[in-house]
């Protein structure tokens, strides 16, 4: 009874035989993306080469790259010749959906954070301006009170007491109300902003699960120096 290791070793020898003893043709691959794609040759060999030496005839190629869709295609290899194969792998549907979901997530988080923050900023400016107005009104009233003792014209004193000081007091009361209202709104907006940041920080960010990779990582043949081995891929998303 053959062991599993012995069976795999026997299969590697058998599968490696067709690649030897024939005139071969070369195929140079230009794949987009050019850095990290992989392909399966003839449904058996998983490879990442940029140039292939193959026996003449038709060969099937199954390309894949992270975030890209799997593309099945075929090349016709002519003996003693160099041919060029170009392919742009399309974005996978899962990746497109993920990017849209991520965009929605970021947009929602941006709105949830930026609107209260902008409101806080605006109300903070308003509160600051209101405070300055209130302080100016207070100073104006004090100046008027101080001017009483230095005035030397009865008519001006009457005007000061009956018109200017009451008007300044009304202005002081108005600016005080504005200051209190604006400060209250500012505090409320600041609290809302703090809550929005805290809430959005806890919301999970969408994670991309490359289902095309799961499909691609099926049982394939990995050629090696001693003929090759069978390999099985498994994807474990780490969050």
């Amino acid at each position: 009874m053959l062991s599993v290791a012995g069976l795999l070793a026997l299969m590697s020898v058998v599968l490696a035989l067709p690649a030897s003893g024939q005139q071969q043709g070369r195929v140079r691959l230009f794949i987009d993306p050019g850095d990290n794609y992989a392909f399966i040759l003839d449904g058996k060999y998983r490879m990442q080469e940029r140039e292939l030496s193959l026996t003449p005839g038709r060969h099937t190629l199954t390309f894949w790259a992270p975030r890209r869709a799997i593309v099945d295609t075929a090349v016709q290899v002519v003996a003693d010749s160099l041919s060029t194969f170009m392919l742009q792998l399309p974005w996978s549907a899962g990746w497109v959906a993920h990017t849209q979901e991520l965009k929605r997530h970021r947009g929602k988080r941006f709105l949830t954070r930026s609107l209260p923050a902008l409101a806080t900023l605006g109300l903070g400016i308003w509160a600051g301006t209101a405070f300055v107005d209130h302080r100016n009104a207070y100073n104006e009233l004090n100046d008027l009170e101080d001017s009483y003792s230095s005035l030397g014209v009865p008519r001006e004193i009457t005007s000061l007491k009956e018109e200017r000081i009451p008007a300044a007091q009304d202005e002081l009361a108005r600016t005080r109300t504005t200051f209190l209202v604006s400060t209250g709104l500012f505090v409320a907006a600041a609290a809302g902003t703090w809550y929005a940041f805290r809430k959005t920080a806890r919301e999970p960010v969408p994670v991309f699960e490359d289902k095309e990779k799961v499909r691609f990582d099926g049982l394939v043949w990995l050629p090696g120096a001693q003929g090759g081995t069978w390999a099985a891929g498994i994807t474990v998303p780490i969050r």
Binding site: H134, A137, S150, L151, V153, I157, K161
Partner: protein, 140 residues
Amino acid sequence: MRTITTIGVCLGLLVLNGCYKDEVDVAALNTNPWDPDYTGPAFIEVVDERTAGPFPGGVFNQELTIKVDLSVLPVSSAITLRVVDQATGIAFDPVPQQAPGSDTFEFIHFNVTPGVETCYAIAVEVQFSTTRSETYCATP
């Protein structure tokens, strides 16, 4: 939770501290002698009262020498006296200072009836407005 409470209390104190609640009590502003509502001691005083006459036609004049305490008036500018007959409400011609900077004014009421008392409201006038008036009654 304690941090939030502390921040809230600090903000509240900041807001309350930022409010200027001082207000001016207008009724308490009565210390300036130029103020018509001045409540301090009188600074207009009649120091002499005379009856002159009879002049041709049996006319008598009432003459008052009035002094104003310029030391209590914070501004030294050209002033006149405004004298009003309290019975009729008629104002006499403004009474000028005897000399620039002088505190003495000479008021003459022409053609008075001897034995009939007349009460005057006397006030200092500056730029067409007057101080608190002092009442003085005299009988020629």
